[in-house]
């Protein structure tokens, strides 16, 4: 499902060079829930960003669902994300000018399938317990509620891959637990491959597989 080979990422500034990823090789099969762990600066979020095609690697290849994304143009990557990848951010990243339902519908609209999407959006909002708040704007929702809307948004196009970057990082324990349970439930129900970056040991314990990074390399994969 996800194949990564010889992946490196280097950032060069006028004064120095930083090697963020120093050759990652990975294979995550379809439907697996993989947690990526590691201390700050280990390269977790960069790896996730590269998997999503949000940036290009310095070298190496990423194959998603049989398609090598490494040489794709920016707009081709965007279209691919719209079809194949759901994304959940630590800071929710909802569009402030759209209501909860509009935010959930957004990926469908972007891929041109909005017409039959309202049902699906409402079903997902129902799953995350926010159907009655579908007309609320992000600013009117709590952090936990915003993250639940973001979860619904991530699943709306039935992406084969879901990438989550510390989805519970900004939430208190209770809300974090609710969001995580929802994420796992939806993942199982929808049959997606889930790659989740986290610091939290408790969160990682619920994953099928734990990949630990340090200084840009995989140090543990179990």
């Amino acid at each position: 499902m996800i194949q990564v080979s010889g992946l490196t990422k280097t950032i060069a500034t006028p004064t120095h060079r930083v090697d963020i990823l120093k050759g990652i090789d990975l294979e995550i099969p379809r439907g697996q829930f993989a947690a990526i762990m590691g201390p700050s600066g280990s390269g977790k979020s960069t790896l996730l960003g590269l998997l999503a095609g949000l940036d290009s690697p310095t070298s190496g290849h990423i194959v998603l669902d049989g398609e090598d994304i490494t040489g794709l143009e920016e707009d081709e990557l965007a279209l691919l994300r719209g079809r194949k990848i759901g994304f959940v951010f630590q800071s929710y990243h909802l569009i402030p000018t759209l209501t909860a339902e509009e935010n959930v519908l957004l990926p469908l609209e972007l891929s041109g399938h909005a017409a039959d999407g309202v049902e699906r959006a409402r079903e997902l909002l129902q799953s995350v317990g926010l159907l009655d708040r579908r007309d609320h704007y992000p600013v009117q929702l709590s952090g936990g509620e915003q993250q639940r809307v973001a979860l619904a948004r991530a699943f709306v196009v039935r992406p084969p891959i879901l990438l989550a970057d510390e989805p519970t990082g900004n939430l208190d324990t209770a809300n974090g637990q609710v969001v995580l349970e929802l994420l796992i439930t939806l993942n199982r129900r929808e049959g997606t491959t889930l790659v989740l970056v986290t610091h939290d040991q408790q969160v990682s314990e619920q994953a099928d597989r734990r990949i630990t990074l340090r200084d840009g390399r995989v140090v543990l994969d179990a």
Binding site: T46, L54, D55, D75, A78, R81, H93, E109, A114
Partner: protein, 858 residues
Amino acid sequence: MRNRLSWSTASKIAWREARASSAKFLFVIVAVAIGVGSLTGVRGFSRAFYGMLLREARTLMAADLSLRVFAIPNAQQTATMDQLIRRGVRRTWITETLSMVASTTVPNPVLVSIKAVDAHVYPFYGEVKLDPPGSLARVLTADSVAVSEDLLLRLKVAVGDSVRLGGQPFRIIGVVTSEPDRMSGSLNVGPRVMITREGLDRTGLMSIGSRASERYLFRLTPGSPGIEEVRQTLQKSFPEALIADFRQTHPIITQGLNRATTFLSLVSLIALIVGALGVATAMQAHLQQKMDSIAIMKCLGARTREIIQIYVLQTIGLGLAGGLMGIAFGSVVEAAFPPLIARYFHLRPEAHWDPSTAIQGLAVGILTTLLFTLPPLLGIQRIRPGVIFRREMAEVRPGWKQRLRDARASLVAGGVILCGIGVIAGWLQIGTLRESVRTGVAFVVALVISLLVLAAIAWLLLRSVRTFVRRCPRRFPAPIRHGVANLYRPGNHAQAALVALGIGVMFTLTIFLVQRGMMAEMFKSAPPGMPNVFLLDITAKERDPIVDLIRAQRGIEGAPDVVGTVAAKVVSIDGKPIDSLNLKAWGRRFQRARAVAQAAERPAHTVIVQGAWWNSRAAQPEPQLSITEEAAQILHAHPGSHMEWEAAGRTIRARVAAIHRIDSIHMYGRIEFIFSAGTLDGLPIIYYGGVRVAPRAVAQLQRATYEKFPTVTVVNVADVLEIVQQVVDQIALVVRFISMFAILAGIVILASSVAGTRFRRIREVVILKTLGATRRRVAGIFSVEFMVLGAVAGLMGSLLATAFSALLLKRWLDADFRVDPLPNLLCIVLTALVANAAGWMASYRILGQKPLEVLRAE
């Protein structure tokens, strides 16, 4: 006790902060610069022009002193002038009048402005330039003329050819390329024909009562009396005359210049206010972003006063930078003026840097910026240090009493802003203190009303657009819905951008609509019976034959209307001398000779509003008089009043029998005083005629009349309207040029508002891209946002412009108003396109933003 924050430290912090937001503040500086530039440009040009008028006063008058009289001087006045001549003062006499000139090459005669001069003396200063070059004194003789180039074109003749004037042949000896006193002359309609006094006599155009403007030019010599003495002597002898001397600029030109400067300055002030509104919104957005820093500073012990001090310095810095840039920009605007008015003012004032205009522009720029940033600056005191700990908590909306209490500072600030703007507007008015106060108050009242109406409409339109897009049964495409939703983005200031752009659009479109409305009214086909051809200067002997000739022409659509007039002057009303009435402005015309008529029967279309018309069959014990409502009001006359008149040395005493009203389109409408029949018998009468002719037959009538009566001037209304249109177009061009600055300021504010939301936009672009949006899709959403904003501003501007033009045309200009959708539609489309361009100008770079860079930073 802690020391106060020093100004230098405050400046350092202010500078550091401004430098970090330099891109955003660049727009603010440009917005201020546009307003200041337009203001300094207008005033700089005006001062340069004024300076030139003063420097060149002698040349522009072609004399040391010019005396314009409205009647041929009487014996005593002539004696006064002769007395001055004997004491060494030199004099020359200029007559300007209108007439017809014909050639053999084109069938129709052309209406021209004739200027009769003594070529050996005129001009005392400056030079009449001829092509081929030559001295006027040497080449201009009693049987030759010098003409302007447009006459050669219209008559299809060349230098050396012959033309006929008053039926007499005259040879063209050259083209007048410049004449020094053209601006201070009068009757400047139609091409110029310069002729000698003997030549004018030969034409037979001038008879007693003929329409002409007479000027006497004087030159002092070393042994002659001084200018003050000459002026006093002439003033005493010619109390009604218009006297100008080289120590002052020409009063008529100066008056026009002052009015134009005040008007254009106020238009520039509007552009500046639009800019200042932008500064205010930008500052508010800036302070909102700086809320954390301000809260931290307060946590660290900074007092509110000190923080305000930092931001006041920053504002002053912005105003100063904008002002300085505006001064540089103003010199470009100043340079753009001479070509704009080149058609009527051939003189080019020397461009020079004028410190007083620059300082004024700078002061107005800083003051306006500071005034408009008062509300956000005062808002600093409401930022609590705790904000950094509990920002996520929703604020409880306080009750209206609390909100009113909170708004007290803003209300006070609003009052200060308005007073400040009033003072600035008053300062820009050239004139007396009273006029300044009146202008200041009127400007502020108009500004408040306009801004309130604009803000209300902007709010209503924005709300309607959102409701429409949301509630419309047919779901709009996603980019449209997202674009519209973006208008309500926090910190977007869509309403402010809308008001700013709307003001500019409204102003520019109003000028266009009023100009068009006025011209349409003038060109509108005249109501049946209204004359479209006028005949001037018909003598008593010519009256009946000319009427017969006209009747015999083809295409005549009604009997010619001919009125005989006598030049007569009011001496007193009910024993009160006319000079004691303290007449003002246009009312002063009654101090000079007026054209009066006599009639037995009440002329057609005349309505008596007071008193009664006299019985024409019964003998009257004394001459009777009917006067127009307006004249009666100005002169405080009423039925039963007695008026004493003086005409050609004869005194006439008449009783006011009636006050009448008549529309101005009929011949009698031009006559304000109608005496009973017989009163004016024996006085030199000159007749004026008007006739309705089918447009295609006008040229034939002009030809036939000129053939038999070459001294009669036949004016085709259509030709005059063309000249009027040229003048109106010229004025409208200048006003539009300046009003465009308001639009420009609006554009910059829109761009600044977009730039102010740059971080939010970047974040959205990144989210959209992460969710699968292509750059085209994102561009579509932003374009919809900018276009909707522009279209709404255009719609608002055109709605208000339509309302204002309707009001101006109907109430003030007495013209019809018809809604024309085309210019309004065009205006909406253009504003939408301009807004789109402005929006992209401020945000095109964010499209290429890499998502991960931004997401990592969060």
